[in-house]
Symmetry: D2
Subunit: 353 residues, 4 copies
């Protein structure tokens, strides 16, 4: 991440986190508190309100002493340069306009600003978007996409990608961008640990319902489908259609995506692996290319990297691309901090938590 020139960073950027008690909020707090370029100046959560952060997380002295405030206090927050929203999409859509109006820059970890089409919110998220005027401005914060870091650097509002979408896009983007695979029908099989669903108390997420089993969910209806299609289509320069089926795994953290499709006519099957390697060699230290059979959730747990690999079948003219990442880090919090670093021109210290 060193080649692009960025504006010089100010002394220390003041950062606030909203929704700090959720799984992503916790990781944000750890990453921001440990980073030399940031001051964590406020943290909001209704369930942790009025207690010091250090009661819930093992942090350095300064961050540990920070007293968590309720979301209702957000208007009175000490001035922040950047606010990180780790809140449900509907809450983010309500908070972001206010924060931007107050002069802060915003990184939203929800899906609230990821889709360009306002109508898609009613269909895929189940609510009417109340700030559609911000959608054209919101920058999709996946730094590995061609041209993304320039836009992130100057963005007021960054839409941090979804966990499945990040994995799907890092696996498929280089292949579609190079015109190696067909955009017509891409199949994405997603597998995620239970923290992907957040901390919500739900009968379907009880230990005895999730352990010792695997099952698909939201078949044909998962809200990352239009997000993946939007970003891959933009990249491919033609419509990419995605059939996506997520599955719940009996593990806490980590996510694997296995994507399938057809080679474009005339493409050499041997070209896919090198194209993938070349793409990331030029663009990111956070995505590591390995053999597809070496892509494993274990190797990215509590780690900020994604692993990707591809296999092409010359006989069947098909391919399999695989990506693994930690849904709470590269799939949420560490990607947000990557974006935060690009926004202020600071280096992203890729530390495991």
């Amino acid at each position: 991440m060193g080649t692009l020139s960025s504006p010089p960073p100010r002394a220390r950027t003041r950062v606030s986190i909203v929704g700090v008690s959720g799984y992503s909020g916790i990781e944000l707090a750890r990453l921001v508190a440990a980073h030399p370029s940031f001051d964590l100046v406020a943290a909001y959560s209704d369930s942790w309100a009025a207690s010091p952060l250090g009661e819930h997380l093992r942090l350095g002295a300064r961050a540990a002493a920070l007293v968590v405030e309720p979301l209702s206090a957000l208007g009175n927050a000490r001035a922040s340069d950047v606010v990180l929203l780790a809140t449900p999409a509907e809450v983010s859509v309500e908070l972001a306009p206010r924060l931007l109006a107050g002069g802060a820059r915003v990184i939203d970890l929800s899906g609230g600003f990821r889709l360009k089409d306002p109508a898609a919110y009613l269909r895929w998220y189940g609510f009417e978007h109340t700030a559609p005027e911000l959608l054209p401005e919101a920058v999709y914060g996946l730094p590995e996409l061609t041209g993304a870091v320039e836009k992130i650097a100057t963005a007021r509002l960054v839409a941090n990608p979804g966990c499945y979408a990040t994995a799907a896009v890092v696996a498929l983007a280089p292949l579609l961008a190079a015109g190696l695979v067909s955009p017509e029908a891409v199949f994405i099989d997603g597998k995620s640990g239970a923290t992907g669903a957040g901390k919500k108390v739900d009968a379907r997420l009880m230990f005895s319902e999730v352990a010792e089993t695997v099952a698909p969910y939201r078949v044909g209806a998962h809200q990352h489908t239009p997000e993946i299609e939007q970003e891959l289509s933009c990249l491919a320069g033609e419509p990419v259609q995605v059939t996506f089926t997520p599955h719940l795994l009996p593990i806490r953290r980590g996510l694997l995506v296995t994507a399938y499709g057809k080679l474009r006519d005339g493409v050499d099957a041997d070209a896919l692996g090198p194209a993938l390697a070349r793409y990331y060699a030029e663009r990111s230290e956070q995505v590591v290319v390995v053999a597809p059979g070496a892509v494993s959730i274990a190797d990215v747990q509590r780690d900020t990297h994604a692993l990707v690999g591809v296999h092409a079948d010359a006989e069947r003219r098909t391919f399999v691309a695989v990506a693994a990442l930690d849904n709470l880090l590269k799939g949420a919090a560490s990607q947000a901090v990557q974006n935060l670093c690009w926004m202020i021109g600071a280096p992203f210290a890729p530390c495991a938590t």
Copy 2:
């Protein structure tokens, strides 16, 4: 399974199990010992040799008293009507000709007799087949395939299907047979618990390597690929090409297959669900059709049933078909006992173990 007329069963069929100490062998022993139509007359295993079966398994008195014999004693075995081989493919290929020559009928749970093309063994299994003359005769023992039970009833040699293959075929067969989906490129994402690998002591199957992670394996090289293609092609009446990627799950038992592909031109997306339901209503009590989001490994663990479901996407002209089963039962031992029952005309008592 009651409508087809079968030859009247003899008093009690004498059954032997070879490889009784493996995970599938154990399930075979339980199912055979509990079934009123069978006498378990011999059990073979080198690791359990010379000890009574009851020392290893909780069984009825008669089966518990049976002393396990080494494989080398197989020539001296008391006469069996049917021998169940729960042995590696290379061992089965060596044993089956001898047993058939001795007058026994054989059900082989390995892949040793599943493929019609002898050359495929070197490529996918890594050994030269030494009994290719038996391959034309071997009956693929998946009773839910159209026309299968008639062949099984009179077979001398039944090739019991692979666990992934069973799941893939029960999910896809009705759709391909009815001409609803394209045979051109079918993608199969398989996910299996660790007992699928058998009891072999392997560094990659240690608890600390399998727990808390999921990863693909044998990408582009799994030996169930040609088996699935062979059976689906036969059914569809045209070549079906399959891209199959298996994944290892951190659970003991159970397997899920998620299959993807395109609808045939002109097919109504709403036709797939009813076609699936109709197929199994006519053919089997062992495959139950449910909503695709209700297909779950938990619901088939230690159970002889498979669950299948399908979702078609009218907009994208694609489909997702899902199947779950217990890899040791419908994916191995209980399917073998279903075949055994068809061979002698006895009813299969679908009992959980």
Copy 3:
């Protein structure tokens, strides 16, 4: 369980289950529906009310067709000979007097009638017992205790033991009854799978909180403490004091208890193993004595048996007794059906579910 003479069973005993949608209720339904001596005549659950049982469980045709009724309909239930209460203790305490007054016999799976001292309910269960007049009459339904089956056979009200208490008592009873170990300070370390907490939706029982960890809970405050002390003291003929610490395990089913204490002065350390073996040889097919290192949760999952073992340390004059069982079967539902069988003089068919 065949030597004691019991009253001849009536044609088929009419059984109702209250709380059928809970984990124990589900197992009760399976066991009762599969047993030739019982008719499942009614099932109650507010969450499953108005749907047929077969929509939730794979059962025989007759039980599957039974339409679940809300608890409020319990007064209108068709006449039952025995009602099984799989309800919280406070609900059981309210329902049992009514049901008994209506002429039914009752087996309560909660702790509502297990303690003889009414005052203990406020301390350990947190509520004032409203039917203390029934406590003297309630029979503690652990058939392996000396003299228990005679009382169970004629009981109107059976208090089915707690899961931890069953394991602790089957491990320790033979040693205390024979005077081999000191009653003065017994330490019990309990470890249970998550279904032990029932189906309640609780943030502490979410997958992401239970997986990949083990922790003690209710230290010094678990309500099975007085239950274990009461039963062991009764058996030993002197006060037995128990320090009990339960731990939550990241597995669905199964429970292990490791109990520690001192040998009585003068006792031969070699006497403990044979005493344990002799006790169960005389009393029960449901408790199997094995080497302590062979007591494993895996061997009793979905099985009605308990495994027990003991090791005595001659040098340190201490012992370790271990017991494992399935918390939903021998720790709840199958023990209730054992009691039900003793109540009507039917044989208990020890079937796995």
Copy 4:
């Protein structure tokens, strides 16, 4: 850990790791490579020999480039100030005398030098100790024990404690040292994740044997028993007798010990909690005292801390002390690095890995 005065550290201490490919060796490599006071100058492992460390672990550039050497090359190693042995006890006993003779200081992570009594090795470890002359000199490297850091600072040979022993001793030492609990009969129930057994390929450690179950092992025979007794007796100034039962948990990392015993006559039950808190407030930032119900493996996984808590039962005159730690860190590698820091007077940076 700042108050004790230590010799000034030399520029950077040269450290070698023997057995780097094991679970503890991997953690050692990460910790040493990340610590500013150390140069990792050599790493030995037969299974990784001739490949750079960076092929196996994600490390900084310098450590990643280090080529692993076979154990046979140990004699030719570049000069090390300290050698860390992450080898089996018998290998350590053979290597340590040679390394000490060559002028290096040694920290041995095996049990090879933990016991003072040479005869105990045959009984508990199954081999005759071949370097008994080193046993009196070896310092038991548990920095939280009173007086330990002074001895560690000048030691040539440090015996790094066992994982269970560390947990047991940190939980019990403050209580025994203060004379609050009886030394006569202490019961220790240990529960460990599967990495505790190391990377050995063993049928009993296969995923399908460990998952979904818990079982005791080496009942009455675990080699940490004499280690715990030795250290606690030394501390208490009188013989402490320990009955210890380890259990294998279906998790990768982390260990919990639940210890039970009797209060000494006349001791106030309320004194135990404060005594525990006071002990660690004075001695260590690496052991954190919490409520016993808050001691959880999840809170110490991939973390260098131990958590301890105690509950005393005034009525029964007993106590329960609980400790949790990561078996690979505070139970092995990070404790070794704590010792390494004390040996050279460097601060221990308590970083999560």
